[in-house]
């Protein structure tokens, strides 16, 4: 995989089918609905629970806005990812081009996905910092790989935004 900036486009080239599939999973991975802890992490409380009025108003007025914000970012990313569909050779490497103006949406969607996956599997800080982990042997290992891969992409996008 090669990752570089070409003018106003961030280009991820030579994407092998496995990494391309992980990228395709970004939008679905941002959905916390099936997992309570993931939903709680994406929509965390703005104050201690004893601030009941503040917390209930937040749920009523702010949370829907946040949902819309996250949804918009995810839709932008899903649209960019359509480039990966319908390649002539199903197992060939491919290239993803992300317009620079979509960089913030990507940062958000990748972050949503990382937080949801990490909450779902309950990864510890030590696990998340272990970059020399043994090969993927379970769905949980794959989740950790996803979190780290998406994190790597975030770092690249952040560097390009500076």
């Amino acid at each position: 995989m090669e990752i570089r900036r070409q003018g106003d486009v961030l280009e991820i080239a030579e994407l092998d089918p496995f990494l391309a599939e992980l990228l395709r999973q970004v939008p679905d991975s941002t959905n916390p609905e099936s997992d309570e802890s993931a939903a709680a992490r994406l929509f965390s409380l703005p104050a201690v629970e004893s601030e009941t009025e503040l917390c209930s108003e937040w749920k009523l007025y702010v949370e829907p806005e946040l949902r819309r914000l996250f949804q918009t970012a995810t839709e932008t990313v899903a649209a960019d990812l359509r480039q990966l569909n319908g390649t002539a050779k199903p197992f060939a490497n491919c290239t993803l081009r992300i317009p620079r103006k979509h960089a913030e949406a990507w940062l958000s969607a990748l972050n949503q996905a990382r937080l949801v996956i990490a909450a779902k599997y309950g990864f510890t800080e030590a696990e998340l910092s272990d970059h020399y982990r043994s090969p993927i042997g379970s769905r949980r290992d794959l989740g950790l790989f996803q979190v780290n891969f998406y994190g790597f992409l975030q770092e690249f996008i952040l560097q390009e935004l500076e």
Binding site: S44, A47, L54, N111, Q112, L128, S129, L161
Partner: protein
């Protein structure tokens, strides 16, 4: 309120005006009006004081990248890179960092922005 105070100040005789028999009455009226204004200001300050003690706290989160948190602090609060990194490291090492203190309404707005970037942030009363 401020408009009324300005109107009252308009009644105060100019320094160069000559004193006449009616002037003490006018002056008394003006002084009474002028005294009303500071009372109003006092009330405003008291309300601000009640609003003041709120702080925006960012909590540690093992998933968010350090570089990402730094960028968010720069964007939301306009911090310099150095200041943003200082707060980011405080979050990372101490578990939390107070990034802003002030009136409640603005603190809520900052927390909303931070949640928009998926940071763990809360507002707390300053104790």
């Amino acid at each position: 309120m401020r408009g009324q105070a300005r109107q009252s100040r308009g009644d105060v005789p100019q320094p160069h005006a000559q004193l006449h028999a009616t002037e003490p009455v006018l002056f008394r009226h003006a002084t009474a009006s002028a005294l009303e204004s500071p009372t109003i200001e006092q009330e405003t300050e008291t309300r601000d004081e009640l609003d003041l003690p709120w702080q925006v706290v960012v909590h540690n989160d093992p998933v968010n990248l350090m570089s990402y948190v730094t960028m968010v602090f720069q964007k939301v609060f306009g911090f310099t890179r150095e200041r943003a990194e200082k707060h980011m490291l405080e979050v990372h090492q101490e578990g939390r960092s107070i990034v802003w203190t002030g009136v409640r309404e603005r603190a809520e707005l900052y927390v909303q922005q931070l949640h928009g970037y998926l940071l763990l942030a809360t507002i707390e009363r300053v104790r």
